[in-house]
């Protein structure tokens, strides 16, 4: 099992950096607050978005079939993939048909989830992540630590070193403007030479048979404009009824993600370009299973990242501590619901403060889901020790005279127990806190004495 607390410990070991990370994300969260406050109808929009998503997810087969039919009418090729393996194979099959070797990819959390980069690289394809944050992370041999800000765990000095090593930028030069311009030059070559472009999908419009990709950099637009084939990978939950609903989501997405009123490029793909191919791979990979679970609400997520920026645990533990593709509150829900044995520690990476619920543009009750998942987590093998301990404690509490006896013993022995034992490794709570000195007499004893005196 992955252990969030142990991983978080590594992150907080560098306390200056952990503090900086916390502040950087809180800054983004505050920008979101400003943007939200400028729309009087903000709360209504969130509510409606949640309803639309819920309705679509509950009738997903209808909307997916409609999307497929309409998209095919528009000349879009539709593929279906049960799992990550089939998604990767399908993408490779299309690349092979096209004789494509050089691929540019814009941000797609689904492709991260499927391990598409590794899959293609192992088979000799050259795949370049074109989102600046993802490019930094890719050159570094690292993984994104945030779904919207993939390189938020790195400082500009780190980026400077990474670029110096891989792109021969000036050593020690860490001006973001300079570094961005150098990345632009280097990536421009990749764009111009690309045979194929892979993108994610932010929203698929069932009635229009079209889909929307949102970026600030324009990398999805440039990549797909140059390459002969455009392959878009989407999870089954990305479909919404029509462009009418898109109005709701485009108003919420960027405001929630970065505090912008809208992403710079909100691009609608409906037909392949002249002489090109436009392919959409619709991927399940565990989502249909989620639909029939108690966590189906998690399928409403539009991947804005607001819950991460708001989460006091995420901000202080970093995205990598979650050990899952998607970190933060929504990542904990998705990972734990999908594979409890592996991710049983994630429902506990939460203070139940509900800050995430209050910002989620799809009105997902994230903290309720996490609370519910704790009940399942505690049943998993990883928590056998804790479970036994809690059962023993419950048993003790159900036996008042035994409890009184044990506590009496503790009060007497307390002065003689060496610190070494009392604050031994087993006492996680005692690591940062002192145990209170036990009162000399218990409440029950005092109460008895007082009523005697009457």
């Amino acid at each position: 099992m992955k252990n969030h607390a142990a991983e978080a410990e590594k992150f907080v070991a560098d306390s200056a950096r952990a503090h900086w990370h916390d502040e950087a994300l809180w800054y983004v969260r505050r920008k979101r607050d400003v943007a939200a406050s400028q729309l009087p109808e903000w709360e209504e929009l969130r509510e409606v978005a949640g309803k639309i998503k819920k309705n679509t997810v509950e009738n997903l087969a209808y909307y997916l079939e409609l999307f497929e039919r309409e998209a095919q009418n528009n000349g879009i090729e539709i593929y279906w993939a049960m799992d990550a393996r089939e998604c990767n194979e399908t993408v490779e099959k299309i690349l092979r048909e096209e004789g494509a070797r050089r691929i540019v990819k814009s941000k797609s959390m689904l492709s991260e989830e499927c391990g598409l980069n590794d899959y293609l690289q192992e088979r000799g394809y050259e795949i370049v992540d074109t989102d600046l944050g993802e490019r930094i992370v890719q050159l570094h041999g690292d993984r994104p630590s945030h779904i919207v800000l993939p390189a938020i765990h790195l400082k500009k000095e780190d980026v400077s070193e990474i670029f110096h090593e891989h792109m021969a930028t000036r050593k020690g030069e860490s001006d973001p403007e300079y570094l961005t311009k150098e990345a632009r030059k280097s990536l421009r070559r990749s764009f111009l030479e690309a045979d194929a472009a892979i993108t994610g999908v932010n929203f698929a419009l069932a009635r229009e048979g079209a889909f929307v990709v949102c970026t600030n950099e324009g990398n999805a637009d440039l990549g797909t404009a140059m390459a002969g084939v455009h392959i878009a990978c989407m999870g089954i939950e990305k479909v919404i009824p029509s462009a009418r609903e898109l109005g709701v989501f485009t108003r919420l997405l960027a405001r929630s993600a970065t505090g912008q009123a809208v992403t710079t490029y909100t691009s609608h793909f409906r037909r392949p370009k002249a002489g090109g191919r436009l392919c959409v791979v619709i991927v399940d990979n565990g989502r249909s299973g989620l639909l029939s679970s108690g966590e189906s609400e998690a399928l409403s997520c539009m991947r804005c990242g607001a819950c991460m920026n708001s989460c006091p645990v995420y901000r202080r533990s970093g995205g990598h501590s979650y050990g899952s593709t998607i970190p933060g509150p929504i990542g904990s829900v998705l990972s734990a619901a999908g594979n409890m044995d592996e991710f049983a520690s994630l429902p506990f990476a939460c203070t139940l403060c509900a800050s995430c619920d209050n910002v989620c543009p799809s009105s997902i009750a994230l903290h309720d889901l996490l609370y519910g998942l704790r009940e399942d987590a505690i049943k998993s093998e990883a928590y056998r020790g804790k479970r036994t301990l809690l059962k023993a404690a419950a048993w003790l509490l159900l036996h008042p005279s035994l409890y009184a006896f044990v506590m009496n013993l503790y009060r007497r022995l307390y002065p003689f127990i060496p610190r070494r034992i009392l604050y031994g490794r087993w006492n996680v709570w005692g690591r940062e806190r002192e145990l209170p000195e036990p009162a000399r007499r218990s409440f029950a004893q005092i109460y008895e004495e007082m009523s005697d005196g009457k």
């Binding site: 729309l39 009087p40 109808e41 409606v48 309803k51 309705n55 679509t56 509950e58 009738n59 997903l60 087969a61 209808y62 909307y63 997916l64 079939e65 279906w80 049960m82 600046l132 944050g133 993939p150 390189a151 973001p176 403007e177 961005t180 990536l187 229009e208 079209a210 600030n216 950099e217 990398n219 637009d221 440039l222 797909t224 404009a225 009824p241 462009a243 009418r244 609903e245 898109l246 109005g247 709701v248 485009t250 108003r251 912008q260 009123a261 809208v262 992403t263 710079t264 490029y265 909100t266 691009s267 609608h268 793909f269 409906r270 370009k273 002249a274 619709i282 399940d284 249909s288 299973g289």
Partner: protein, 188 residues
């Protein structure tokens, strides 16, 4: 059974559209949509110019001494040619829809030129009638006729990134600058 059938059957047998969610709340509106548009485009890093006098003069000024210009509106130059993958200094485009709440302009290539023009032009100049500005994305999508669209986008300002320590830098990949040229409405 193929994956398509497996996935669809895992989603249940019901095949209906559920209900249509009502948007039954007051939606933001602006007293002066042009002013709001200009302000919001500015926040997104774009400029605006309201046309006074001759349009072609303003365009000429915007173009400056650029070497390569593609004028898809044929206002400044009679015709244009653009090949996929060409990097140019300025692209002049027309738009017939824009959004006040976020400064986004609806740019539809209408398959008249290769899509790469929109990202390989260093500067994008978009001509727009002020009448074409709507309040929010809701009204914007009501106006779009998708049956004619191949590829179209809402573009709000130049390409940008803040992936290095949250420092905003313009010109991540696409245009480094964007100007909206607004033609005052005839009624005014």
């Amino acid at each position: 059974m193929g994956s398509r059938e497996k996935i669809l059957s895992a989603l249940g047998t019901a095949r209906n559209r559920g209900f249509e969610v009502e948007l039954s709340f007051p939606i933001l509106s602006f007293g002066d949509r042009v002013c709001a548009f200009v302000e919001n485009l500015k926040k997104a890093g774009g400029e605006s110019i309201v046309v006074e006098g001759e349009l072609s003069k303003i365009l000429a000024r915007e173009v400056g001494d650029a070497d390569s210009v593609v004028d898809t509106t044929s206002i400044l130059y009679g015709s244009f040619s653009y090949k996929k993958g060409e990097e140019v200094d300025v692209a002049i485009l027309g738009a017939d829809l824009a959004v006040a709440e976020n400064g986004a302009l609806w740019i539809d290539t209408e398959d008249r030129y290769p899509r790469s023009l929109l990202t390989l032009a260093r500067k994008i100049v978009v001509i727009l009638e002020e009448d074409a500005i709507v309040d929010t994305m809701h009204q914007a999508y009501e106006r779009v006729d998708f049956s004619k669209v191949s590829y179209a986008l809402f573009m709000s300002g130049p390409s940008k990134t803040a992936d290095i320590e949250q420092s905003l830098v313009f010109g991540a990949h696409g245009a480094v600058a964007m100007t909206a040229v607004l033609i005052p409405s005839k009624r005014a």
